[in-house]
Every structure is written in C-alpha cells, then in structure tokens.
C-alpha cells in the first residue's frame, strides 16, 4: 500500500512541473508585457520596475522560470493587483467556505443519490425508475447558475423561506475559529450561529449538488443493475441469505467501486460549479474570489487559483485511488 501511495505521489510530480510551465507561459501570453499584466491599469514606472525585479522579468526566460518555481515552492503564489494581499492568504481565508459548501453539496449528492440509484435499479423499468432516470437527466442538463438563480429567486427572494446571500447573518456576532462557520458554531456552542450558517448553506448546496447528484444516481443505478445479475449474487440467493444481507454485502459493496470513482471525479465539477454558485449567492469562498478576479482582470489571483485548484484536485484524485484499496482488495494486491 505504501509503495502504491509513493508511486502515485511520484506521478504527480511531472504533472505539477508541466502545470507550472503552463501557468508560467500563460502570464507571458497575456496581453501587454507581464509586469503590466500583473500590475493592471494602475501600473506606475516604479511599480513596474519593482515587479520586473521581483519576478526577474528583465532576466532570461529560463531564469524567470526558476524564480517563479522557487517562489511557488516557498508558498508565494503572488499578490493580488487589487488589494496587494498575498494570493495564498486570501485562499486560505476563503477556502473553508468553499470546502464547507462543496462537502455539503457532495454529502447531499451521495446521501440522496446512492439510495435513489439503488432503488431505481431494483425497480428497473417501473414508474419509480422512469421518474428517477428522467429527473437525473434534467439534473445533468440544467446549467448550475440557472438553477442557482431560480432557487434564489423562488425560495429566497419570493417566498422568503431561506436567506438570499452570504454565509451567515452579519447581525449574529459569531466567533470564528476555523472559518468553517457551522463547525465554529458547534465548537463555541453558539447554536444560533451554527443553525444560521446551516440555513445559509441550503440553497447553494442544492444548486451545486444537483449535477453530482444526478451523475451519482445514474452511475449507482447502472452499477447496481449490472452487479445484480452476477453469478455470486445468484449463489448468495441460492444459499438462502437474507435479501438485506445480499444487498449490503454483495450488491452494494461491489457496485460502489464505480460510484466512488465518480464521487472523486465530481471534485472538479464542484470547484468549477463553486465559482458560479458562490457568485449567485455572494457566498464568500474562493469561487466568488475568482469571479471578482476575472472581472478585474486580476491575473496573479487567477494564476494562483488555477495552480491551487489543480494541486487540491490532484490530491483528491490520489485519495480516490487510495480508497479503491479499501473497497476492492484486488487493487491492493494487484
């Protein structure tokens, strides 16, 4: 298992090197010279000289690349044009919001999706199956931001059932330790703050979780339907095992492998979707930060964001690969 982990980690190295090259080239492909692109409209001669020196833009390209990589290795992802704040600091400050939202969305998708997919497979061809399959198709084709806007306009603006924006009511004077607002509320035993943060999560999580939910339903259904006809399931039935034992131990366990892969693949969708969902609900995570950066052409933020997401995304995929080992012993030994 350790060798497997090390091998997978080693495989990440060329990808990260390639990515750093790509992003390095990207800044140089931006309109205007790189120092001007990084400083934006407010570039002054002194500012340009400072950036040129800091990033070594006046040096040979190869040297520039090494300066860039050295900074990255030291955790320096550049600074925002707008605020001057280091990009990494802004990320770490806002990342808990995105994780909180992403995990809630994913939890919703898995908790609702797996049982729905399972039920649909069990009732293949019947009404329940048709409804679930059609619903999941609708879920896949509805643009995230359209759903987010609709949810917000109907449930927040019109019906006033749920809050329209933000992560927490600013009037609640909540203590923040981890910046995971729900967790903070629980840790500090400020129950109203925790509840308020949860209520604020509902609509964004539904909007963000719908596509992963639809995909998980479809994959679970297909996978369960396939496993149900396997010989070992028939054997289990023949030897008189209880139906619930067969479902749990034989069908679900074997059907879950592709589902786990899919859950891992949703991470990318969640990050991309977070940009759109957080923007609609002014949910102050890295997605909204990116949206603002795009609007202001804040290139260092964009550059840092993409690298940051790529690293997180690769790590999640690593975790997914490792989780196979837990579910499927063949991966461990093979």
């Amino acid at each position: 298992m350790l060798r497997f982990v090390l091998r997978r980690l080693a495989q990440m190295v060329p990808v990260l090197v390639g990515l750093s090259l790509l992003l390095f080239a990207w800044v140089r492909a931006l309109p205007g010279d790189p120092a001007r692109a990084l400083l934006g409209e407010r570039a002054t001669p002194e500012g340009l000289a400072r950036v040129n020196e800091a990033y070594g833009f006046d040096q040979p390209v190869l040297a520039q690349y090494f300066i860039y990589v050295k900074a990255l290795l030291q955790g320096d992802f550049g600074a925002s044009i707008q605020t001057g704040q280091p990009v990494m600091d802004s990320f770490l400050e806002r990342f808990p919001a995105t994780i909180e939202l992403g995990l809630t969305a994913l939890l919703l998708a898995v908790v609702v999706g797996v049982p729905l997919g399972y039920l649909a497979a069990r009732h293949q061809g019947r009404l329940l199956d048709t409804v679930v399959v059609s619903g999941s198709l609708l879920g896949v084709v509805t643009p995230v931001f359209f759903l987010a806007i609709l949810l917000k306009l109907v449930f927040a603006d019109t019906l006033h059932w749920l809050p329209t924006a933000l992560r927490q009511n600013p009037r609640i004077d909540a203590t923040h330790i981890t910046n995971f607002y729900v967790l903070d509320g629980l840790l500090t035993q400020e129950w109203d703050a925790a509840w308020d943060a949860m209520v604020h999560l509902v609509l964004p999580a539904i909007a963000l979780g719908t596509i992963p939910l639809a995909i998980i339903v479809r994959i679970t259904r297909a996978s369960v339907a396939e496993v149900m006809h396997e010989d070992y399931v028939r054997t289990a039935e023949a030897k008189g095992l209880a139906a619930s034992t067969i479902s749990r131990r034989h069908v679900l366990r074997n059907a879950l492998l592709p589902v786990v892969t899919t859950i891992g693949l949703q991470a990318g969708l969640l990050f991309a979707g977070a940009v759109l969902t957080e923007t609609v609900f002014a949910f102050n995570g890295i997605g909204q930060y990116l949206f603002e950066a795009i609007g202001r052409r804040d290139y260092p933020v964009l550059q840092g964001f993409i690298l940051f997401i790529a690293i997180v995304y690769s790590l999640i995929n690593l975790l997914v690969d490792l989780s196979y080992g837990l579910i499927d012993p063949r991966v461990r030994t093979g």
């Binding site: 990050f271 940009v275 997401i309 995304y313």
Partner: protein, 316 residues
C-alpha cells in the same frame, strides 16, 4: 490477460475479406438501426433537429434584428412589456424583441457548440491518435511519445474544464472567437484520452495480431485498421460534448468572459441580464435557461442512445 472484444461490425477487412463478402451489417448502419428503434434517441433527435432548424432559419422566423433595442422606450425598471401580437415573447430588458433574441440565441449556441467541439475534437483526436498510434506500435520510442503526450494531457486534466476555459478566455479577450477556442481547448484532453484508450485496446485485438502476422507495416496497421475501428466512442463523445459546450458558453458569459457585442444574442448573457428584472418579468430569465437545458437534453439523449447502440456489450 484481458480479452478485448472485437470491434463491432464483424470481421475487419484486414483479413483480406472484401467488404461486401462480410456477413451482417456495418458498425454504423447497425447502430443507426438500433437508434431508430430507441424512443429516447428519437426524442433527442427531434430536439436536436428542431434546434438546428430554428438556428438555421432564424432570419426567416423573425422580421427583427437581434439586439436592436428598438423599443427601449417601452421598458421601465419596474415593467417590461409582455407577449403581444407584435412581440410573441414580449420585449427583453433592453427593449429588443424577445423571440428574436431567442431564435438568434439558438443560432449563436449552434455556432459556438459546433465550432468549439470541432476545435476540441480535431486537436484532441490528433493528440490521442498520435499517442495511441505510437503506443500501439510499441517500442521504446513509441512508448516514450505516448507517455509524453499523455503527461501533457494530464496537465490539462488537472485543471477543471470550466476553469481551463476561463483561463484561456482571459488571455484571448472578450470576443466570440476567444469563447470558442477556450471551450474547444478545454475539451481537448477528453477526446485525446478517449481515442488513445480505444486505440490501445484495439491494438491488442486478434485482427491486429493477424495483420501483423501477414507482415503489414506497423504504420499501415495503425492508420487503416486500428484508427478507423477506434473512432466510434470519440464521435459519440463529440455529440455529448455539444451539450457541455453549450452550457459552458453560457457559464463563460455568466462570468463576464463572453462576447460583449450587443448585436450577438446569447442565451447565457440574456440570463445574466434578466436577473435584476425577475420580479417584473421572470420569463426573461426562464426562457433562455430552459432553452439551454432543452438543447443540452437533446444532445445528451441522442449521444447516449448512440453510445449504447455502438457499445458491443449493450447490443441486442
């Protein structure tokens, strides 16, 4: 050892059997036959056809021009004129005819979807065919080329596709070409991986072994046998990607990276513009949103039915 199923469509001509001597039907003809019997495929095809007809016939379906804002005097912050005999779907918030915006929006979506998918397919399939071809040929050099190209694809895959599109669009500026190139480039890794994967698995099949035994050159085996038998899933993926492309174009517009030309009607931008008039005219947001979803649904239904029909495992 894994057993690779032979390509759908009977024994390949590589065994020296002339095409007309092969019993059964060809891969695509068989698939089309199965698609015709599948009601969801028909539903998908009808939606796609309707979309394409509306898109192509847009100038015939309306007498107005998109983005004209001719009736901007009739629009106030609290009211946007609704459907009437002159304006079937009412006006939009800028005072243009909504029906005109919708049909020209279809036209724009079709152009965006087809061009960006064509860009992604061409570049991705070229990369994939090179990697798969060299990988199938084998040898130290072949495997090196294959793994080098695939590491490049891995780099692209390490960025979620919408974000990849965002970063490319940010470089290229705010215009239609930038949008199409960005969305197309973001699709490259999908096609590259898919084609390479199916070429490698075809490369292990018996007919390739047979062709090799007959003494055919490796390059010829790859070009005339492996490649043609591997393109099926890639073509199907292109159909499915049209749906994704149309949704992503709208998402780029939403993020402010779409074309800003008011004469171009684009569903995503219409949706964004309608947000602050939702109380007065919810249709302005609902119509383009539903149009995007229905179009994506059409391509998805059709693409999935095609995939099922081409998949040897699900063929009846």
């Amino acid at each position: 050892m894994t057993v690779t199923l032979p390509p759908a469509g009977g024994p390949p001509a590589s065994l020296g059997v002339a095409e007309d001597e092969v019993h059964g039907v060809s891969l695509w003809r068989g698939a089309l036959h199965r698609v015709r019997r599948n009601p969801t495929a028909i539903a998908g095809a009808v939606i796609v056809l309707a979309f394409v007809v509306i898109a192509l016939a847009a100038p015939l379906l309306t007498q107005y021009r998109p983005g004209s804002a001719q009736w901007s005097g009739q629009v106030t912050p609290s009211s946007v004129p609704g459907p009437s005999a002159d304006h079937w779907l009412g006006l939009d918030r800028f005072g243009s005819d909504m029906w005109t915006q919708m049909v020209y929006g279809a036209r724009q979506s079709l152009v965006y979807g087809v061009v960006s998918t064509a860009i992604g397919l061409t570049a991705g399939a070229t990369l994939g065919a090179l990697a798969g071809g060299f990988g199938a040929v084998g040898g130290r050099f072949g495997i090196w080329v294959d793994s080098f190209l695939m590491r490049c694809v891995d780099v692209m895959l390490s960025i979620p596709s919408l974000l990849l599109a965002v970063s490319i669009a940010a470089v290229l500026g705010q215009n239609s070409y930038a949008v199409m190139i960005a969305i197309g480039a973001a699709q490259v890794p999908i096609f590259a991986r898919l084609l390479r994967g199916s070429m490698l698995s075809q490369g292990r099949s018996d007919y390739v072994l047979a062709a090799d035994a007959l003494g055919l050159r490796k390059g010829r085996i790859v070009m005339s046998h492996v490649l043609p038998n591997s393109v099926g899933p890639t073509i199907v993926q292109a159909t499915l990607n049209l749906a994704t492309a149309i949704i992503e174009v709208a998402a780029l517009s939403y993020l402010g990276l779409g074309s800003s030309d008011p004469a171009i009607a684009e569903w995503g931008r219409m949706l964004v513009a309608a947000q602050d008039r939702f109380d007065a005219a919810p249709r302005l947001a609902v119509l383009p949103g539903v149009a995007i979803a229905i179009t994506a649904l059409g391509f998805t239904l059709f693409g999935e039915a095609l995939r099922e029909a081409l998949d040897p495992r699900t063929r009846r």
